[in-house]
Structure formats: structure tokens, C-alpha cells
């Protein structure tokens, strides 16, 4: 650090990167203690979007009524939230689900992962001043939302999965639509790479910034692209396979520190871009294996009254490890539903990563850990 003469009166400036700020991805307040533009201390204040999900889950008089509220937790990847909750319930009640339902769920979850990453990457580019990639990503995302809309009827929050099956079967042209999307989307990733990923200014703004070492990541409980960005080969779809993920072969992209040190913003970003390609591979294999016949609502129990017990199930949401701890006490309404949100944990790491960086870097770091406030505040 540059040494400052002692007689110069230098006071730190406390500034609120407040609940309304163009690049806090929603209502997050960061109290910054600044010395010039160098950040001495960051204290995130959250809770501006606390919507009482857990209290609501306890008041619902039926386990399946909680599903619309899980959508609204991480509203950018609603299908993955439902998938996590539904998996937990099926493990608790030991229901086994028909093959066709599992395949449709995996296809929808991977499509939602691509849509969520597109938004995360677009917003990250927007934070660094690149306005156009944000709009190109949204154009692609709209195509995925069209597929969801024809199947579930909604664009963003679907309430599509039920405990033990699905609300209703997929749209007749679901397979052809998804296949068309796969064909058109693959060259678009290359275009995005040319425009943003290997853009020299983008690399200068993201390499060696917000470095998250491997050990700190694990100790802080990081997961998903943030953990993989630091070089840890950890993906629940491979390491702790749930649903039918072990049927598909796909790699887990891991940050290698190509552009700077291992675990910087660029690594976390490029892991998300490469993950989209892997999701495409999964969807292709799942589309081929999708069984034609099978009623999707046959295994859905009429009434759910689990005996008392508890279960903790984790699934790989686009932001990381999404866990549901459900405790039942022999009644129709859940006794306790606790959602372990990855963004909540990643935001807890922010003070540790961003000490001594500039404001512009802090914006890049917040963009690279890709948080959604609905999930942080639940």
C-alpha cells in the first residue's frame, strides 16, 4: 500500500451502495468504508426482500401448496427450486417416479439452467458497462421461455412440478421445439465468447479480481459455479447423483486460472459459459432417451400425510447447492421447511473476497457470484 504522510487528515468515507443501485441485482445494501476508491470494509445488509417463505410453508395446509412459494424464492431458476423441493418430498415419502417424468424434469431443469446462466452472464456484462451482450443473452433466453410457456403456461414462475410427477404432460411439439433451440443456440455461445468472454477490456476487468482460494471456498460452504470457479471438481449432479443424472455423460467445467489466478471473477464467469454447453449435451441425450408413453400424474398421491421424521436433500441449482430440510409431524401441513440458498452463503463470503479492491471491482465481484435476492432473503 502506498504510505501516507501522517499529518495529512485522511478520513474514510462511508457510502451506502444502497437498496436502489443499478448493479446490486435487486435490493441489497452494501455499506462500504472507502479510502478514496479503495474499499476497506464491506458489510452487506440483506432482508429487504424477506418474504417469509418458511413461515408460509408452515401455514400451508398441504405439502404441495408450498411449491408456488419455492418458485418465488429464486425467481430466475424456478424449475430447479421446484425440482429440489419435489425430490426432497419424494425421498421422504419413498415415492418412485415414472421414467418419463424423470426425463422431462431433467430436460426442463437443464433448459432453466441455461436461461438462468444467460441472465447471470448478461447482468455481469451489464455491470461492467457492456450493454449489448445483456440484450443478446435475453434474446436467447426468450426462446427458452417460449418453450416453457407452451408447456407450463407461464414465462417465469411455473408451478409445474407436483410431488411424485408433473402437473400436466408436455406440449406435443415439445421435442421438436427443444431440438430446434439446441441447433440455434450452440453457435450463439461462440458469438457470446467472441463478444464478451475473450474481449480484452473484459479480461482486464475480471482477471485476478475477487480471488477465492479453494480452502476458503469450502470453509465458507461455497457451491456451484463459485466453488467450481476456484478449481474444486464438485457438482451434485455428478458427485451425489440425484434423479437420473447418472445416465448422462457430461463433464464438469472447472476454473483453471487461464486468464489470471485460479478462482478469480473470470473463472467463475467462464465456468458458467462452459456449463451451458454441458447442459446442451445433457438435453440432447435426454431428448433421445425420452420414453414416449407413460402418464405423468399417475404417481402423484391424492393426500400427503407423512409420519413424523425429517429429511435433508440437496440439488444442483444454477447458483449452487440448493438444500431443503423438511420436518414432518404426522399432519398435512409441514412442521418446518428450511431452504438452504446458495446465494445466501455466497453473499456471506463477499466481505472476505472484496477487501482492498476498488468500487469497480466490487461491482464485478457481486456480478460474478451471481446472487438473486429472492433466494438470499427467502
Amino acid at each position: 500500500m502506498v504510505e501516507i504522510l501522517d499529518n495529512i487528515d485522511q478520513r474514510e468515507m462511508v457510502i451506502n451502495m444502497g437498496p436502489q443501485h443499478p448493479s446490486t441485482h435487486g435490493v441489497l445494501r452494501l455499506e462500504l468504508v472507502l479510502d478514496g476508491e479503495i474499499i476497506k470494509k464491506v458489510t452487506p445488509n440483506i432482508g429487504y426482500l424477506h418474504r417469509c417463505f418458511e413461515k408460509y410453508a408452515e401455514q400451508m395446509d398441504d405439502y404441495s401448496k408450498v411449491i408456488p412459494y419455492t418458485d418465488r424464492m429464486d425467481y430466475v431458476s424456478a424449475i430447479n427450486q421446484e425440482h429440489g423441493y419435489v425430490l426432497a418430498m419424494e425421498r421422504l415419502l419413498e415415492i418412485d417416479v415414472p421414467e418419463r417424468v424423470e426425463y422431462i424434469r431433467v430436460i426442463m431443469a437443464e433448459l432453466q439452467r441455461i436461461a438462468s446462466h444467460l441472465l447471470g452472464i448478461g447482468a455481469f456484462g451489464l455491470d461492467l458497462g457492456a450493454f449489448t451482450p445483456f440484450l443478446y443473452c435475453f434474446t436467447e433466453r426468450e426462446k427458452i421461455l417460449d418453450i416453457f410457456e407452451r408447456t407450463t403456461g407461464a414465462r417465469l414462475l411455473y408451478n409445474y412440478m407436483a410431488v411424485g410427477g408433473l402437473m400436466k404432460d408436455v406440449h406435443p411439439e415439445f421435442k421438436t421445439d427443444t431440438a430446434d433451440f439446441l441447433k440455434t443456440f450452440r453457435p450463439k455461445i461462440k458469438e457470446l465468447n467472441d463478444l464478451l468472454s475473450y474481449n480484452d477490456i473484459f479480461i482486464k476487468r475480471t482477471a485476478n479480481i475477487g480471488v477465492l482460494p479453494k480452502q476458503v471456498a469450502i470453509n465458507y460452504g461455497a457451491s456451484g459455479p463459485v466453488l467450481r470457479g476456484s478449481g474444486v471438481q464438485w457438482d451434485l449432479r455428478k458427485n451425489d447423483p440425484y434423479s437420473i443424472y447418472e445416465k448422462f455423460d457430461f463433464e464438469i467445467p472447472v476454473g483453471m486460472g487461464e486468464m489470471g489466478t485460479l478462482g478469480d471473477c473470470w473463472d467463475r464467469y467462464i465456468v458458467r459459459v462452459r456449463e451451458m454447453e454441458q447442459s446442451l449435451r445433457i438435453i440432447e441425450q435426454a431428448l433421445d432417451g425420452l420414453p414416449e408413453e407413460g402418464d405423468v400424474t399417475e404417481a402423484v398421491p391424492k393426500r400427503i400425510r407423512p409420519k413424523n421424521g425429517s429429511i435433508y436433500t440437496r440439488s444442483e441449482s444454477p447458483r449452487g447447492e440448493l438444500g431443503y430440510y423438511i420436518e414432518s409431524n404426522n399432519s398435512a401441513s409441514p412442521y418446518r421447511v428450511k431452504a438452504r440458498a446458495p446465494s445466501f452463503v455466497h453473499l456471506g463470503m463477499l466481505p472476505a473476497i472484496s477487501k482492498g479492491s476498488l468500487i469497480a471491482d466490487l461491482v464485478a465481484i457481486v456480478g460474478s457470484i451471481d446472487i438473486v435476492l429472492g433466494e438470499v432473503d427467502r
Binding site: I15, P22, G129, L135, L358, I359, A360
Partner: protein
């Protein structure tokens, strides 16, 4: 023709010489703001303004202007009143005053002083002052940061601008912009190329590139738009401004863009000389060619804005001090050598 009528009524001459650049700037600003939104729309494959006033929303900027007039003009309680009010007008005055020496066409120039370039660079350095004034006066932490950033950026980017302008003066030998343009008329380089400075000397192409980068930074356009960077400092030094005061900042920014592009056109692309030599010469055509070159450079600035991300403050300084400045001085020496050897 204009000279005869004006000389014997001094008051009228001042008004006319003041009014002509003002109308050019105002008409250009309205068209440029609408143009930027259409270009942005085109680059991002969307439509841009369509509904306002009929064909492709041509009346969009007029609607914006009329609305901004109706906006309440908020003066923050403990902002320093006079500086807060004065900053936008000083900023526009700085770039507007510099239009006096720009030779719009062979028969019209504001004031044909022989230190044209020197005057222009001196007046535009007042811009930095007004941005810092705006940043400090609005008593808002974000604008203070924006103001400090712009202080560092605009002052340090004047050095490469002046260095590259110097290389052209070395070739042209005179500071008067009218004579600089006259020297570039005719087209006998390699038979068909117009002998603009950029073709006369290969090192002047390097000089133009450095010049273009530094005028991007001078008028704080992306990738150097740190003083009012949207995503970091809310709205930079403009955070506290609303209504017409903020509109004055927008006008000043677009006027500054036009001014520096026109300067680039004069120094490197032969001002009002037509690319076909005598074929479309003459004062009226001269004005057309001159504005075309200026607007082309403005178009490139807008094009860059919607494709590149933004630099960080220290990277900005690094580029200026350790790349652009040494390069521009070396280029100055090389241009001088080339001149000595070949002419």
C-alpha cells in the same frame, strides 16, 4: 458573400457568428440523441424509438426536450448553490466557445485567428473544471467520486491529444485551422487519393488512432465513461441534476463529441475538401463534406459505445501514461523525420 453584408454592422456580425454554430449544435444534438438510440437499437437487434411523432419516432428528442423543460429543477439543500447552478452552463460554454475556430466551409469560419488550434485546446480544458465543479457542488458522495475520476481522466488525456495535434501542426506548419484545411486540397497522392494529411504521412495514421482514443476519453465516452458510469456510481457527477440542468449536461456532452470529431476531420481528413478534388468543391459542398466526416466519426464513437465494456480508473491511467503518451511522442519524432527526409 456573407463577409460583405456583415462587416459594416458589428453587432449583427457577433450575433450571426454566435447563432450559426449554436443552431448547428442544437440541430445536431437533437438528431444525434435520436440517432444514438436508433443505432443502439439496430446494434442490439431491436427497434429503438418508433411511436413518437410518426415515421421511426423522429420526434423523440423533441418530446424529451419538452418534457425536460417541465421537470422540477431540484437544488439539493446543502449543495453550494452558485457552483451547482453554474456547472452545466460552463460545460456547454466551453465546448460552444471552441466552435468559433472550426472552419465550416471554405467561405465561412467563426474567427480566422492564426492560433486556432491553440485556442481550441485551451478552451476545451475548461470542461474538466466544470465536471469537477458539478461533482463537488452537488454534495453527493457518488458525484464526488464521479468528479474526482473525471479530474484525473480528462486532465491526463489532454496530453496525448495535444501531442497528436502537434504532429499534425508539424506537418502543416500553421495553427490556423483554415490554412490547415487549405493545405489539404487537391488530390494528387498516388494519382487518385486526396492529399489529406492522413495519406501524406504513414505515421499520421498512428497519430489519428491515438487522437481518436484520447478524444473518446476527453468526451468521456465508453470505454472511458467513468465520470458518469451508470453501473458503478449511480449516475456519476450528474446524479443530483434534474430537468433542464441535466439536459444542459447532455447537450454539452454531445456538443463536445461533435467538436472533437470535427477537429479530427479538419486535422486528418481535410476539413471541407471533397475527396474527389475539384469535382464537388465550392463552399456549399464543402460544408456538406465537412459535416459528413464529422458525423462519421461521431457514428464510430456511438458504435464503440454499444460494443465495449468500461475500463477501470487505474487501467485508464495506465493506458494513458504508459502507452499513449510515449507512443504519441515517438510518433511526433518519426513524423518530423519523415517530413525532413521527404519534403
Amino acid at each position: 458573400m456573407i463577409e460583405g453584408f456583415i462587416n459594416n454592422l458589428p453587432m449583427i456580425t457577433i450575433l450571426v457568428h454566435a447563432a450559426i454554430p449554436l443552431t448547428i449544435i442544437l440541430v445536431y444534438a437533437l438528431v444525434a440523441i435520436w440517432g444514438e438510440r436508433k443505432i443502439a437499437g439496430f446494434i442490439q437487434d431491436r427497434l429503438g424509438p418508433m411511436r413518437v411523432g410518426g415515421w421511426h419516432g423522429w420526434a423523440q428528442s423533441i418530446a424529451d426536450l419538452l418534457k425536460l423543460i417541465q421537470k422540477e429543477d431540484i437544488l439539493p439543500k446543502d449543495a453550494s448553490r452558485f457552483l451547482f447552478r453554474f456547472a452545466p452552463f460552463m460545460m456547454f460554454a466551453a465546448s460552444y466557445a471552441a466552435f468559433a475556430v472550426i472552419p465550416f466551409s471554405s467561405s465561412y469560419i467563426g474567427s480566422n485567428i492564426n492560433i486556432g488550434v491553440f485556442y481550441l485546446l485551451a478552451v476545451t480544458s475548461v470542461l474538466t473544471l466544470s465536471v469537477i465543479m458539478a461533482g463537488w457542488a452537488s454534495n453527493n458522495k457518488w458525484s464526488l467520486l464521479g468528479g474526482m475520476r473525471s479530474a484525473a481522466q480528462m486532465v491526463s488525456y489532454e496530453v496525448p491529444t495535444i501531442a497528436t495535434v502537434l504532429t499534425v501542426i508539424v506537418v502543416s506548419g500553421s495553427l490556423n485551422l483554415m490554412t490547415v484545411t487549405e493545405m489539404q486540397s487537391g488530390n494528387d497522392i498516388l494519382g487518385f487519393l486526396p492529399n489529406w494529411f492522413i495519406f501524406q504521412n504513414p505515421f499520421l495514421i498512428v497519430a489519428f488512432i491515438i487522437f481518436f482514443i484520447s478524444i473518446l476519453a476527453e468526451s468521456h465516452r465508453v470505454p472511458f465513461d467513468l465520470p458518469e458510469s451508470e453501473s458503478e456510481l449511480v449516475a456519476g457527477y450528474q446524479t443530483e441534476y434534474s430537468g433542464m440542468r441535466w439536459a444542459m449536461f447532455m447537450l454539452a456532452e454531445y456538443a463536445d463529441m461533435l467538436l472533437l470529431s470535427l477537429l479530427g476531420a479538419v486535422l486528418f481528413f481535410g476539413g471541407w475538401n471533397s475527396p474527389f478534388g475539384e469535382f464537388m468543391g465550392g463552399p456549399a459542398w464543402g460544408f456538406f463534406w465537412f459535416m459528413l466526416k464529422g458525423l462519421l466519426l461521431v457514428f464510430v464513437m456511438m458504435w464503440i459505445r454499444w460494443t465495449l465494456p468500461r475500463y477501470r480508473v487505474d487501467q485508464l491511467m495506465h493506458i494513458c501514461w504508459s502507452i499513449l503518451i510515449p507512443l504519441s511522442f515517438i510518433n511526433l519524432v518519426l513524423v518530423a523525420l519523415w517530413e525532413v527526409i521527404f519534403n
